[in-house]
């Protein structure tokens, strides 16, 4: 058991921002999400039971993401005007091609089904181990493996023009549904 050192959190801002961007699909929303995540974490002293800080931050980020989305769904929908469009930061990275690539990559990740998106963000964007990701997302490790596999496949297809898009998978039975939700009957292998 150890107390979370607030000062150590500064090193995770960039990585958490990338994770938030992939979750939300937009930079401005990502900025808000990271702000809110840190505000929550720093609201009171936190005790970690030997866990990596990033794993803990991923849990808070996930919870904050769900909360903010629920709150947003209760607000009236407003249509964006030209004034709402934020001009892209001209200095996000050194090369414009790379910037475009990343914009597209994160936007594509944000279109994934939520479970797949969270798995990909936890493992590939944040760099958590499968075990840490499974604990942060409260699912089995094997479920993370499956979701990650499918998420990567979907992203690779979406970003590769010569590959025909895969038709959307439609759940055909209870087993498929339970697999997709990550909740399996006890004793059933995933």
């Amino acid at each position: 058991m150890r107390t979370l050192d607030p000062q150590s959190l500064t090193q995770h801002v960039d990585r958490l921002y990338r994770a938030a961007w992939a979750l939300c699909g937009g930079r401005e929303d990502a900025e808000d999400l990271v702000q809110e995540t840190f505000a929550r974490v720093l609201a009171r002293p936190r005790v970690l039971s030997g866990e990596h800080e990033l794993y803990y931050l991923m849990r808070v980020l996930r919870n904050t993401f769900f909360t903010s989305r629920r709150t947003a769904s209760r607000r009236p929908v407003t249509v964006a005007t030209l004034d709402d469009i934020v001009v892209a930061d001209p200095r996000p990275m050194g090369q414009p091609e790379q910037a475009l690539e990343m914009e597209e990559l994160y936007a594509t990740i944000a279109t994934l089904p939520e479970d797949f998106r969270l798995a990909l963000v936890a493992v590939d964007v944040l760099g958590l181990s499968y075990k840490e990701a499974s604990r942060a997302l409260r699912v089995r490790e094997a479920t993370i493996t499956t979701r990650l596999f499918r998420a990567r496949k979907l992203i690779a297809r979406a970003l590769t023009p010569e590959l025909a898009p895969e038709p959307p998978r439609i759940a055909t039975g209870r087993r498929e549904e339970t697999r997709a939700s990550g909740v399996l009957p006890s004793g059933e292998p995933s």
């Binding site: 607030p6 959190l9 004034d83």
Partner: protein, 223 residues
């Protein structure tokens, strides 16, 4: 499509993991400020050691927050007082659109103009009023939209601007906007050229207020 799309899943993983996108400087600054604030709280004496002193301090802070100003000249401002003028009735005619700058009205406080929102957002200026809040002149312009909702936009004269606490902070374009609820109405406060601005309206969501506030910050003052 990208210039170099990943052809395999391993290439995709490599692309995702190699991303070095950096968070905006404004976000880094905000997190640093949160951490510094947390550190200050940790360094403060524990509440149980303060006993009655802590209770008195809390009451004084609460008194300031709810508008019982003792006239001490403290820079803290009663948010209720500042926001109240945005919810009162207009006593002066609406200022017209500026002839010089299309994004502004022909009304300003210490050179800080009120924004013109009618063309962009459909919020038309309908009236104005002037008040004194804790010795400061407060000018408020009221706006209405087609559905009859009403917004008050107040600018407090003088610098330094009074401190406002509480609520949550949302950053737009490097500017911190404080979001609160006062008298059951959403309120957004921020600084323009060092002057405290307050915008509020019953039945108007804070997201809308924030959008209007941040637009005026970027466009009306820049033009």
């Amino acid at each position: 499509m990208t210039n170099l799309p990943p052809h395999t899943e391993s290439e995709l993983v490599e692309l995702v993991r190699s991303s070095d996108v950096r968070a905006p400087d404004s976000l880094h600054r905000h997190v640093d400020a949160l951490i510094a604030s947390r550190r200050r709280r940790r360094l403060a004496p524990p509440p149980r050691l303060l006993g009655a002193t802590a209770v008195v301090a809390a009451v004084v802070a609460l008194a300031l927050a709810v508008g019982h100003n003792g006239g001490s000249g403290a820079p803290a401002m009663s948010m209720r007082e500042a926001a109240a003028s945005t919810l009162r009735a207009a006593t002066l005619p609406a200022p017209p659109e500026s002839r010089t700058y299309h994004a502004q009205l022909a009304a300003a406080v210490d050179g800080v103009p009120f924004p013109y929102w009618e063309d962009r957002f459909g919020w038309r200026s309908t009236g104005m009023r002037s008040d004194q809040v804790e010795g400061r002149a407060v000018t408020t312009v009221f706006y209405s939209d087609s559905s009859g909702r009403r917004i008050g936009y107040a600018i407090l004269a003088g610098t330094p601007a009074p401190r406002i606490g509480g609520g949550t902070i949302a950053w737009r374009g490097g500017v911190p906007y404080r979001l609160l609820t006062v008298h059951g109405a959403a309120v957004v406060t921020w600084l323009r050229d060092g002057r405290l601005c307050v915008i509020s309206g019953r039945g108007v969501p804070s997201a809308m207020l924030l959008r209007l506030a941040s637009w005026s910050e970027h466009d009306a003052t820049a033009s």
